[in-house]
């Protein structure tokens, strides 16, 4: 599989620069025991994490090729799609809105400025709570904007 699945990324984000036990990883990620164990094994097989004395940590000798595979644009796009699809298909507490909006150039500038404010707010919020809020309770937030004409052309041509 190209890149990482969002499940695997969860494990890596949980580990960060630390060395953690299976129990802590499982608690932090909120993954089912079996799934968590299988993910750890898969990441060990791929040489992305190592295990020593019952603790897991991100490998210090990941090759540049593997780094590109994990963090390359294509891999991150696939991962984003995976999460976005999950949000769109969410059964409960679903918040998702997609609209075609008519905006004059002035409103477009205001909108982009608001997005920039939103981005700053989210970065501050994350900085403030990243040590106290476990990974499993964090929120997945995404936004994007495109022009109908160019998007439709992209859909038709596949490029």
């Amino acid at each position: 599989m190209k890149g990482l699945s969002s499940l695997e990324r969860n494990i890596l984000e949980c580990l960060g620069r630390q060395s953690l036990s299976y129990e802590i990883i499982q608690h932090q990620t909120g993954l089912h025991e079996n799934v968590c164990f299988n993910l750890l094994q898969a990441l060990i097989i791929r040489g992305i994490i190592t295990s020593e004395g019952g603790r897991y940590k991100v490998s210090e000798s990941i090759s540049p090729l593997m780094m590109e595979e994990i963090n390359g644009l294509e891999a991150r796009q696939l991962e984003s799609l995976e999460l976005m699809e999950a949000v769109v298909e969410q059964k409960s507490n679903r918040i998702f809105r997609l609209q075609k909006v008519a905006m004059d150039p002035r409103d477009e500038k205001i909108f982009l400025a608001m997005l920039s404010n939103l981005d700053s707010f989210l970065q501050d919020a994350h900085k403030k709570s990243q040590t106290s809020v476990p990974l499993k309770e964090r929120k997945v937030v995404f936004w994007g904007v495109g022009e109908v004409n160019s998007l439709m052309n992209q859909i038709v041509t596949g490029r």
């Binding site: 599989m1 079996n34 164990f37 299988n38 094994q41 898969a42 097989i45 696939l78 490029r159």
Partner: protein, 119 residues
Amino acid sequence: MSPQTSLQQKTIQRYRQFFPEDTLREISSRTGIQITRVFRLMNGKNMKVGELEAFERAVTVKTAENPNFAHMSTVIESASAVLTNEELGKIADYVQRKVANRTFGRMYIRSTYQDMSIA
């Protein structure tokens, strides 16, 4: 590795993807092959054609439970004729991710994992 062994391994691997937790008794009941013979086949004894067909039949019965499987096969046929290589790659990656994520939820299956780590 003889071609027959390779085909046999593929067939068993495919069977295991559909029925990862089947015991020898369950495999025997699903395929109609005697349990002692199933044990031998799982340990690398060469299959007869009829036995290979029995394993494939079990998989076919299982896939028939999902009418969308046939639909997907048809769509993939059309896709291979119409879409670009890049687009086909994206679809393949998408499906592969779905499969991998679902596989993480299953019990550890050696052969499947080996394939995943190579891919």
